[in-house]
Amino acid sequence: AQSVTQPDIHITVSEGASLELRCNYSYGATPYLFWYVQSPGQGLQLLLKYFSGDTLVQGIKGFEAEFKRSQSSFNLRKPSVHWSDAAEYFCAVGALRATGNQFYFGTGTSLTVIP
């Protein structure tokens, strides 16, 4: 069965520090992987996605993620965090179905940025 695990419920980093959010997935076929960000009271905004090809993908707002098949991971990184990055981050795997692509979301990682 498909599943996504985000081991860190909450992370606190200092502004300017580097960031890595972990995501592990379970999926029997080639995964389609996504990272979304959600600010309080808002919908989900796509940060980046991996479908195939280069395993290091670049996204918006200076984020990147690396797909590692051997580790079943798709960790999100940013070299220097800004205060505006404080939000909830969701990793998701997309599973193909005949009726549309179903997403399996992780439980999210809440990021706090301290000055």
């Binding site: 009271g41 919908g43 989900l44 479908f51 997309g94 549309g100 692509n101 179903q102």
Partner: protein
């Protein structure tokens, strides 16, 4: 800009009083989804439409219904809201590509049940 729009952004209803949430899209996507997201939890898929075909998730309560009168609009009807239905409701759309298509989310409607 092409987008997913949800109205209203905040909805207050009374226990047991039917309520309808609205979603519209200018992306011309075939698939529209409704998710329920409770505080500090991941979004939970309730159902989705592939064109006019309705697909209900097995654990979605009968209290939740949906309508899609045309490509652009999709509605979520909660027939008798309970206190446990207070949540953020997210609408999303996608266009099937035979691969891993992206889902595009609206800003959500926050539902409060009194």
């Amino acid at each position: 800009d092409a987008m997913v729009i949800q109205n209203p952004r905040y909805q207050v209803t009374q226990f047991g009083k039917p309520v309808t949430l609205s979603c519209s899209q200018t992306l011309n996507h075939n698939v529209m989804y409704w998710y329920q997201q409770k505080s500090s939890q991941a979004p939970k898929l309730l159902f989705h439409y592939y064109d006019k075909d309705f697909n209900n998730e097995a654990d979605t309560p009968d209290n939740f219904q949906s309508r899609r009168p045309n490509t652009s609009f999709c509605f979520l009807d909660i027939r008798s809201p309970g206190l446990g239905d207070a949540a953020m409701y997210l609408c999303a759309t996608s266009r099937p590509t035979g691969g891993g298509e992206t889902q595009y989310f609206g800003p959500g409607t926050r539902l409060l049940v009194l």
